[in-house]
């Protein structure tokens, strides 16, 4: 039984006593170094020994008071020999650099898995646990705010709106979807052709989008109904609520990793992550659109055409704005026009969906979406004839 020289603090005063440690069967005995008198006896089983660190401090906490090491190496050797305490798994994990690097790799893999499967799963569970009335409430609060920012009253007549509602309801019936779960609203838009779904089942479609579809004559109905079916997909799968929950979780996770350091730094991963989830949701909604259209016997060719039509429209708008800006104050000469056209050519030639780069895009690429509906159009003729 060897003894270890330590500093002992009795917990009643800040005085340091030179002492020795000794193990006596089940007990740790602390003796005064000078007089050898027993100062304290502690049950070994109740003691939690300090972990080994590179830095030289070792502090053992007693019920009252503490024991401080004089030299870390001696302490470690004595504890290993006399008390038999081994490094815990975690400490061993922390000590080797190879373990730390393994931990780093696992961390990155775990974070990726958490993003791809973990957060969506948890968000799904949370949303499933919430009643639909929560969705409706949030949608009710959100609608006025959205209207304030982006919408105005519709220019369509009541008769026209009702006609579309009829067709929409008929499609839902044929696709076996409860028409009560969605409400179709018509609005004018301040931001161009658009349609979106709010939590709770309110689907808003803008006059501008309907106008765009009506230029296509034969494909007008399949196009509008296809877009509406896509929005129904968002409603049925409660994407709005999922987005809310997964964004909160994502924000919490990224701030746990980097937020200590800076909330600005944590923002980029959150935005990128959100965009990823958004693209996944758009794919799901497209899938629902395909299914609903097929079950209702409506061709998906409308949707195949839709993306091209929308892109053309947006490019024309951009070109028009560019030309106005260029020519604006200048004289209406041929040279000026030619110069403006050259400058604005890029506006007309660049596909809209390539703008932000795919990482930040909230929707999958147009090509991908067109392909999905095109494949379905190929199958669709078989499905509708089977009905």
């Amino acid at each position: 039984m060897t003894r270890l020289a330590v500093d002992f603090f009795d917990g009643r005063s800040a005085r340091a006593v030179e002492a020795t440690l000794e193990v006596d069967s089940d007990a740790l005995v602390i003796r005064d170094a000078a007089s050898d008198a027993e100062l304290r006896r502690a049950d070994l089983r109740g003691l939690r020994w300090p972990e080994r660190t590179v830095a030289p401090t070792r502090i053992l906490t007693l019920g009252m008071g503490e024991v401080h090491a004089r030299g870390a190496a001696d302490w470690d050797a004595w504890v290993a020999a006399e008390v038999g305490v081994r490094d815990s798994a975690i400490v061993r994990l922390q000590h080797g650099w190879h373990w730390a690097l393994t931990a780093l790799v696992l961390l990155i893999a775990g974070a990726a898995a958490g993003y791809r499967w973990g957060i969506p799963w948890v968000a799904g569970q949370v949303v499933d646990a919430l009643p639909m009335t929560v969705d409706a409430r949030i949608g009710d609060v959100a609608l006025p705010q959205v209207e304030k920012l982006m919408l105005k009253p519709s220019a369509l007549s009541v008769a026209e709106q009702d006609a579309w509602r009829e067709k929409f309801a008929a499609m839902l019936r044929r696709a076996d979807i409860d028409a009560e779960s969605v409400t179709l609203l018509f609005r004018g838009s301040r931001i161009g052709p658009n349609a979106f779904a709010l939590p709770g089942g309110s689907i808003v479609i803008t006059d501008e989008l309907i106008d765009l579809a009506e230029r296509e004559q034969a494909l007008t109905e399949p196009m509008v109904l296809g877009v509406l079916a896509h929005e129904v997909g968002h409603v049925l799968r409660r994407h709005g609520m999922r987005h809310l929950v997964s964004t909160s979780l994502l924000g919490a996770a990224t701030s746990a990793l980097w937020g200590d350091y800076s909330s600005a730094l944590a923002l980029a991963p959150t935005m990128l992550g959100q965009a990823g989830y958004s693209r996944a949701a758009e794919r799901e909604a497209d899938e629902t659109s395909v299914q609903v259209l097929q079950r209702a016997g409506i061709t998906t060719a409308g949707m195949v055409r839709f993306f091209t039509v929308l892109d053309d429209y947006l490019r024309d708008e951009a070109w028009r704005e560019c030309m106005e800006a260029e020519i604006g104050d200048e004289e209406d000469t041929e040279d000026a026009e030619a110069a403006a056209e050259a400058a604005c050519a890029e506006a007309r030639d660049t596909p809209r969906d390539a703008q932000l780069g795919i990482a930040f895009a909230s929707h999958p690429s147009d090509e991908e979406r067109i392909a999905r509906f095109a494949r379905a159009a190929g199958r669709g003729s078989v499905a509708s004839s089977a009905q």
Partner: protein, 384 residues
């Protein structure tokens, strides 16, 4: 007696990485253990007169308190999405609970900190906590929640009306934030006076002797540094922005311009200038505030000196930021250790009585019950 820190970034990196991994794998449940490990590391290796501090918190007990705080936070952030009434109720609930949680967290932290075997204690009363923590929270959250009722007005048709509406909402928000910001130095002063007047160690009872004016003076100087930073860096920022935007003015096509190399370079420069400006302010605040607060915290037998230099702080923060950015965050533990060392080693204490005369404080009974008190409080501990 000087303070020294013997920890190393390399060692802390390994602790930090394992903490992160286990916290992620356990979906956050490991967090109290990670926090205890972190605090023990920093405390053990902070040496005052050659002896380190110790943190005694028990992770399992901390788990419950953290879970509760987490749930409250979650509910609060959701409530405002739900309805203005829910938002108001949540704001009132947070305001009511916050002083108690804040005080308990301080008591917990101090009761679980020891030096040379003696525990610290916090003896601040509830009334002080309500004023120190409740009033600032109330003055911010409640008006904001109430204002939410006015924000959901009718949809104005005309753009003029909409502009007027936006201006009105802006004024309301400003009207809430501006007085609060002006009162912020006072809130800070009161909170510090409450806190630092209630630390106990052995027979030492600290008090805080700086006046609110000193904090306001510091705030004023901080604004001065901010303006100085803006003046210094605005030419850089403007040049960068002009450089970046020069392509965009030729075409109305915003998106094409976003991709151009000039834009990227210009925006990076702009971002860096902005960053330097923020760090200037932050370094000044950290250094001067630490010096002010600690130098004015003392007891009859204890004087504390803090001599943290602005230049050193700024230099370290810039270096830390750069390396963390370049290493995608992996440098963070090294940065944390370096900053802690800089701040700690700027502090020194003068004790007028011999250490041996310091005996366990009589507050809350004998020292034997101090451990029990710590266990009682062990329910609560926050994220910091």
């Amino acid at each position: 007696m000087p303070l020294r820190f013997h920890g190393s970034g390399a060692e802390y990196f390994r602790i930090w990485i394992v903490n992160l991994l286990l916290t992620l794998v356990t979906l956050g449940f490991y967090y109290p253990w990670a926090k205890v490990r972190r605090l023990k590391y920093f405390y053990n290796h902070t040496l005052l007169a050659e002896h380190g501090f110790e943190f005694h918190g028990v992770p399992r007990a901390m788990l419950r308190g953290m879970a509760m705080v987490g749930v409250l936070f979650f509910l609060y952030s959701f409530a405002s999405e739900f309805s203005p009434v829910a938002g108001l109720i949540a704001a009132l609930a947070v305001t009511g609970l916050w002083p108690f949680l804040w005080r308990t967290a301080i008591r917990f932290r101090l009761a679980n900190t020891s030096w040379r075997g003696l525990r610290f204690a916090f003896v601040g009363n509830v009334r002080g906590a309500i004023i120190a923590a409740g009033i600032p929270t109330a003055l911010l959250l409640v008006p904001l929640a109430v204002a939410a009722f006015w924000m959901l007005g009718d949809v104005p048709e005309e753009s003029q009306e909409m502009e007027a509406e936006m201006r009105r909402q802006g004024m309301i928000t400003l009207g809430i934030f501006l007085p609060w910001l002006l009162a912020l130095p006072w809130f800070l002063w009161f909170a510090e006076r409450y806190r630092r007047g209630a630390f106990r160690y052995a027979q030492i009872a600290t008090e805080f002797s700086a006046g609110a004016g000193a904090i306001y003076l510091l705030a004023l100087r901080l604004v001065g540094v901010l303006l100085g930073g803006v003046l210094l860096l605005t030419p850089v920022a403007v040049l960068a922005a002009v450089f970046a935007g020069s392509d965009a003015t030729e075409t109305e096509d915003l998106f094409a311009a976003l991709k151009s190399a000039r834009f990227v370079f210009g925006m990076t420069l702009f971002g860096l200038a902005y960053l330097v400006m923020i760090l200037l302010v932050r370094a000044y605040a950290v250094a001067r505030l630490q010096n002010l607060l600690w130098s004015h915290t003392h007891a009859p037998s204890l004087t504390i000196h803090s001599r943290l230099r602005f230049r050193s702080t700024l230099g370290l923060m810039l270096k830390n930021w750069l390396l963390v950015l370049l290493s995608l965050g992996l440098y963070w533990p090294f940065a944390a250790v370096a900053l802690w060392r800089l701040r700690i080693e700027a502090i020194s204490l003068d004790l007028a009585v011999p250490l041996e005369t310091l005996v366990g404080s009589g507050t809350g009974g004998e020292s034997e019950s101090a451990g029990e008190m710590a266990a009682d409080l062990a329910d609560f501990d926050f994220g910091w």
